[in-house]
Amino acid sequence: MKLYLYLLVMAAVTYLIRMLPLAFFRKKITNPFLLGVLHYMPFAVLGTMTVPAIFTSTGEPVSAMVGTLAALLLGLKRRSLIEVALAATAAAYVTSLILGLL
């Protein structure tokens, strides 16, 4: 039951963050520092969530490393989200299969 309370809080917080500004905001933010923080925040969040977690995401370091390299390579080529996600998965999968054969 406690789990569903957690889910409710997540949904409420996430929705309110989206809704309140869209429904009620009528001006523009002008504070340059605040603008900068908001601008960089998503990248900082994603960065600290991805590293180091990505290296343990497949439960085995070699396949995770190969998957990470594939994601990095396609990311540098500006491929779409789905392409990068699937390529990382495929690279990790193939690597684990090869490791299984050795």
Binding site: L5, Y6, T14, P21, L22, Y40, M41, I54, S57
Partner: protein
Amino acid sequence: MSYAPPEKFAFSREMPLSFARKYRILSHIFNLGARMEAYGYRDGLRDGLPIGLGYLSVSFGFAIWAVKQGIPGLALVLLSGSNLTSAGQVAGVTVIAAGGLLVELALTELIINLRYALMSVTLTQKLHPQFSLLQRMLAAFFITDEIFAVSSTRKGLLTFPYMMGLGCLPWIGWTLGTALGAFAGTLLPAALSAALGIAIYGMFMAIIVPGAMEEKGVLLAICAAVALGLVLRYVPVFSFLSEGFIIILSAVFGACVAAWLKPVKGEGDA
């Protein structure tokens, strides 16, 4: 609640007056409202299809990962259906799985999803004047990085039907993919299900790597956040910190360092 119509200049600034006038005349003649406008529901559906397909596979991977963290499948479907966000859900599941506090969870979601506030603010500048307060409240639910990216780069004003169409397939894809991953994920071979654990991080890489290439400030923000994150995770003194707070602290640190050293010029486009 009273609804103040948007200022007139917002309309004329976003599109040439001639178009605005043409639109008003056309919609008046056909009495079809915004539904038949250039950016209607079907346009939204079409724009949302690739996003929905992408979400389907990424949320599939998310669900497989989250089930391994000990979250029941039904809860995951509810989570995806009610949150529609990748980073926030990964962080939320991480906090829940670690037995984090409710306030820690709320704060984590607040920090991680703070970007949606900026996106919402940006989108308010592009909303069609016919957008009512209730419609704004509905459309707000569907704001994600990808939906924001597509809608904010659309020429002209955003109508309510367009925003609803745009949100439809991504929501279905995200929720359906979660259900498939949560309930059918165990049918997959163990090696494939293990490999899918990297899918969500692959998607994150697809967002941050091009961002870092385009802007030194973004690269700086990522490096600073990752650096502090590594310190907080691996230096034993900080072992009392939970994963949720580590994400918050390192992300705020990275964003502040970048905002301080590489100030954003001009308007704050996310």
